[in-house]
């Protein structure tokens, strides 16, 4: 049976809202909170990985070519990666509503 994202009704809430499935926080896709998204200009990227290390969400990963990208299901658009990227390879652009 497919697990529900969250209980439908109040009486389906487990006591204390306890969660018995480890890692289930990943089903909460918080990317919708984002107002801006990071865009990488790979020509300027030196593959240092500082964006990957500083991302507080842990949603930046390395591609097979050694560049980096954000998982937009979870990226909240905080811009820390762009701020920390000293070669300025990351630009934050407005999300269109």
């Amino acid at each position: 049976m497919k697990q529900k994202k969250w209980p439908e009704a109040w009486h389906e809430v487990t006591p204390g809202c306890m969660v018995f499935t480890p890692g289930s926080a990943s089903t909460y896709k918080t990317g919708s909170w984002r107002a801006q998204r990071p865009i990488w200009e790979n020509k300027q990227c030196i593959k240092c990985g500082i964006c990957y290390m500083f991302c507080p969400e842990g949603c930046i990963s390395e591609t097979t070519e050694g560049f980096f990208e954000a998982n937009l299901d979870y990226c909240k658009g905080c811009g820390i990666c762009a701020h920390e990227c000293w070669p300025q390879a990351i630009a934050m652009i407005e999300e269109e509503v």
Partner: protein, 387 residues
């Protein structure tokens, strides 16, 4: 049952906890406190019980340590008072939301400012909406009995909520009373081991105290509210079990000489003892006065209160705290609101008194009954305030 012995009530509360097979106590024993923490520490460190006594750096930490210990399945106790309870405030709703059966003893003492260490209810009233089961003891024997009952209530599978047992600071906690203790075997018979709903353990990963999105927060709070409301049934059941085993009855709302009474005094805590003497005197003088005592404050026993005040024309509510800039004392405000739609509800007179350790005597109660009779409206009044 053993024989009666003279003992300070604060120490007796610790002795009662000592009979309850606790695993962890976390307490910050700075003033304002009571002798509960001090004596419980003696009991643990003298090796009389096998428990961990955690000395923490604040009440914020003591209640947090209790929550953590309780989440691992331990039986947990803490005690506090006044400013200490205020400092726990942030964590209290978290403990109840996580459905952790932490048991607390609170020596009711005034909250600063101005600085005052004496007895009133200004410390517990701001905790009203924390989702805890809130009970008030009237005398030392009730402190012993209700401390033991608290563990059974809190940990019951149909409850799983923290409890706070209020005992009036000084008036109870520092008073030496003749007290009767159940034996260890009797307590063991009454109080089963805790069977936790879930425990934090590395072998079985799970999460407690999870983040709630707006999509689920309302449902979670309604579930918590319903759990607290439903706990009353189990509380009453456990009190009946206690009566059966020990012969002393406990009810959410206690009554004294209310039969045929058209005026009733309503108290919480130790004040009920003095008020009952006033009722005796008024009855002797032929006045139909009765006494109603609220033992359970949360969940609020509305049906039991309605039964208790049947036929009452004037209900005199004794409030030992004030909701500044509001409708008066918290107890009267709440009763007025709950009875608002009742057609034959009594006139409710609200006296704010006994603040910051000011004594309320038998004569004061008799005087308040006379004043209540003359009062035209339902506005609140600071009884005995110097004009």
């Amino acid at each position: 049952m053993g024989k009666r012995i003279g003992m300070e009530v604060g120490i007796a509360a610790a002795e009662a906890v000592g009979l309850c097979n606790i695993d962890v106590a976390a307490v910050y024993p700075i003033t304002p406190q009571s002798h509960i923490a001090e004596h419980l520490s003696d009991i643990v460190h003298d090796g009389r019980i096998d428990a961990e006594f955690i000395t923490v750096e604040s009440e914020h930490s003591s209640i947090s340590a209790c929550a953590g210990a309780s989440a691992t399945g331990a039986r947990v106790y803490t005690a506090t008072s006044s400013q200490g309870l205020m400092y726990m405030h942030e964590i209290l709703p978290i403990v109840s939301a996580m459905r952790l059966p932490v048991v607390m003893g609170n020596a009711n003492r005034a909250v600063s400012g101005p600085l005052n260490i004496w007895n009133d209810h200004t410390d517990i009233m701001p905790q009203r909406d924390s989702g805890w089961i809130v009970m008030h003891a009237e005398n030392g024997q009730e402190v012993i009995d209700m401390t033991i009952q608290s563990f059974k209530i809190a940990e019951h599978a149909d409850v799983m909520l923290p409890t706070v047992l209020n005992m009036d600071g000084f008036q109870l906690t520092h008073m030496i009373e003749p007290l009767e203790f159940p034996t260890q075997a009797e307590v063991n018979k009454f109080l089963p081991d805790r069977v936790p709903y879930a425990t934090l353990h590395p072998d079985k990963p799970m999460s407690m105290g999870c983040f709630n999105m707006p999509e689920i927060f309302t449902e979670t709070l309604k579930a918590k509210d319903t759990a607290l409301i439903n706990s009353k049934k189990t509380i009453v059941k456990i009190w009946n079990e206690w009566e059966k085993q020990f012969g002393r009855a406990y009810k959410p709302v206690e009554t004294y000489k209310t039969k045929g009474a058209d005026t009733m005094i309503l108290t919480m805590g130790s004040m009920g003892e003095t008020a009952s003497v006033a009722v005796d005197e008024l009855r002797k003088a032929g006045k139909p006065i009765g006494l109603v005592k609220l033992r359970l404050w949360r969940p609020f026993p509305l049906e039991e209160l309605r039964m208790a005040i049947k036929g009452c024309k004037t209900l005199i509510v004794m409030d030992r705290a004030v909701s500044f800039g509001g409708a008066g004392g918290p107890v009267a405000t709440e009763i007025k609101s709950l009875l608002f739609h009742d057609k034959d509800r009594p006139r409710i007179v609200d006296f704010i008194m006994g603040l910051g350790g000011r004594d309320v005597t038998v004569e004061n109660f008799i005087d308040m009954v006379a004043r209540a009779g003359k009062k035209k409206d339902e506005s609140y009044e600071y009884y005995g305030v110097r004009e």
